[in-house]
């Protein structure tokens, strides 16, 4: 029994396919998680990140079917994410409807809409060929995973530092952090609290929409839009933010961790190990739940997280 467990671990650690798949899942999660991190810094626990990913995924796939150009498809995905974000932002931070109510309704709405549109305009995609970076992709084990992915995956490389710079090195970012920690103080010092929150949700929408696009265009084995592809990955991205204790570095590590478990579910059967399919499928979600339980109290979250701001109230 113990020997076989070691056998499995050894197989998994030495499998290039495993690393490849894990990195791809991690990158897709990282797009959404980076956006979500910005929104949470401003004080919104944005559960419609799921809807933004679904919107981005379907729109990218559909536009790719029509135009056959990857950049246009990805841009369309971003646009779809931003549209969802616009609805979320204005309903929750202008009309001050409860943000979870709006988020949940949007998740169900976009899921249904994508399903309906897909039944009419079938979105079919073909895989973008991996770009192998010379020499670096020859490194054993991790080489191909890190330096031999389809090019849309590499968009994560500029986006993460850009998000960090935006939040920690610009006036806008300073205001976003102020709004997330102490909206009342931010308000009296002349910051438009709800406007900053709305803008940060737009950032989340753009990132998550792009993530959805990368999911359908950059993943091997995906040949079109399917409802299950996003399958709560947005919520897992939120779990990654919690895991990271609201730091960007930790968030990305969280994405890597969850990506690994998503990959495990795909690779174990390929490597010839029998694993209970239900257990394998629920593994990333169980891990996400456990990990948030361990880390949720560890660090300070934005103090006004998930609290609506209405001037004059409290």
């Amino acid at each position: 029994m113990i020997a076989s467990v070691f056998n499995v671990i050894g197989d998994v650690l030495s499998s290039e396919a495993m690393y490849n798949s894990a990195v791809r899942f991690a990158i897709v999660l990282a797009f959404a998680a980076t956006g979500e991190w910005v929104a949470e810094k401003a004080g919104t626990l944005n559960i419609s990140i799921e809807a933004m990913m679904i919107g981005g995924a379907y729109t990218s796939a559909a536009v790719f079917t029509a135009t056959d150009t990857v950049p246009v498809a990805l841009l369309a995905g971003v646009a779809a994410g931003v549209v969802v974000a616009l609805i979320q932002a204005h309903l929750s931070h202008q009309l001050t409807i409860d943000q979870f109510v709006v988020g949940l309704t949007l998740n169900l709405f976009v899921l249904g809409l994508a399903l309906f549109l897909d039944s009419r305009w079938k979105a079919v995609t073909s895989v973008v060929k991996p770009t192998k970076i010379l020499l670096l992709s020859e490194i054993p084990f991790l080489g191909e995973a890190l330096f031999g992915q389809p090019w849309p995956m590499y968009l994560i490389v500029p986006i993460v530092p850009a998000a960090w710079w935006l939040v920690f090195r610009t006036r806008w970012g300073l205001e976003v952090r102020a709004v997330g920690d102490s909206p009342q103080a931010a308000d009296v010092s002349g910051i438009h609290v709800n406007r900053r929150r709305r803008e940060s949700i737009m950032v989340a929408g753009a990132c998550a929409g792009l993530g959805g696009g990368v999911l359908v265009l950059g993943q091997i084995s995906i040949s079109g839009y399917e409802a299950g592809h996003v399958g709560l990955k947005g919520i897992i991205a939120i779990a990654a933010v919690i895991f990271g204790g609201w730091t960007l570095r930790g968030t990305i590590i969280g994405c890597a961790l969850f990506g690994y478990f998503f990959a495990l579910q795909l690779t174990l059967p390929v490597l010839g190990h029998r694993i209970n399919p239900q257990l394998a499928a629920s593994l990333p979600y169980v891990v996400a739940l456990t990990v948030t339980a361990v880390f949720a109290t560890r660090t300070r979250q934005p103090r006004a997280l998930a609290q609506p701001f209405v001037r004059g109230l409290t």
């Binding site: 001050t96 309906f116 549109l117």
Partner: protein, 374 residues
Amino acid sequence: MRAPDAAVIRRGLKVTGMYVVSIAVALSLSAGLIAITGGPWRKVLSALLDGSIRNPGRWGGTLAEAAPLLIVALGAIISTRAGLVNIGQEGQVAVGAALAAFVATRGSGPLVLVAAIAAGFIGGALWAGIAALLRFWRNVPEVISTLLLVFIAAQATGYLLTRTFLLLDSDPNKPNRVQTSAQLDSATRIGRVRLFGNEFPWSVPVALLLAIAVALLLHRSVWGFRLTVLGRNPRTAQRIGVPVVVAGAAALAISGAMAGLAGAAMLAGGTANYRYTPGFANSVGWEGLLVALVARNRPLVCLPTAFIFASLRTGSGFLAATGVERSIVDVVRALLVLALLVPPAVAAVQRRRVSPPPAAAAAEEPTVIMGATA
């Protein structure tokens, strides 16, 4: 009784007007969507009406669908009252139904039925209890944990259906190859009411009574008052002696228990031909939650809302003839929910802009702010 002054009447008319406009916008957006994709929207509307009310024997079916939605919604209201956002009803329904099936397929007779329904209730409570535990022990937002538990519930109940000693039907002559549980014995089923050529299970009138009971409990009992204080201001609640953690965890567990109860009632009331099947919950959890949101957490308003949502469910069965995918119903439903959320919010914003005279302000229902407990 003081005669309402002109400003109040004007405001009421304005809100009503906004409701009419936003519902009209939602419906015309849906019609537009059907039209763009080349479907006949008039036929869709008429198919929905035929399937839900107009055709003989259909409104009984709609009532039968409405009962679980209503029960789920009542549970959602209880947790929302306490300021906790339980959005994992879909999983709680599945777990409740699975446990009910586990008990119900072990015997037959009315006692087993009662035990099965209790099992459903407990199953839902336990599943939501995980989220409650994580919320109060480890500070995990219940929004996230309940959602993740939906997915885990689907897999866990799926696992139960792969083993004959758990749920899988061991009968070699079972009707098809889909993995389902054994059928409930006819003595273990909820009886059916026959009325004007329609029939529905007894769970429908029971759900109606439950709605009244929940309304009374929330608005007229000390327990309900405590929950309300807890939801609006946890600090005040603590000062007046409400055990914040116990009451909050109980509210979350009870909301899950109601969802589990709905699952058990569906199983014993004839959903999926008295068998537990993969995907048994079939969005009842999500839709029940939406019912509560649209009713803005008032139990009695849930009655008509649940019926309307159930009409969309039963009506969608008639859509095949029109050639439009039934997933259009999901879109219409979500648009309707968004449309119904907007007018009260707009009214609240306007009220804040023009600060009202004190008398009118006192008469207004204070805005409930959900999720303000963090």
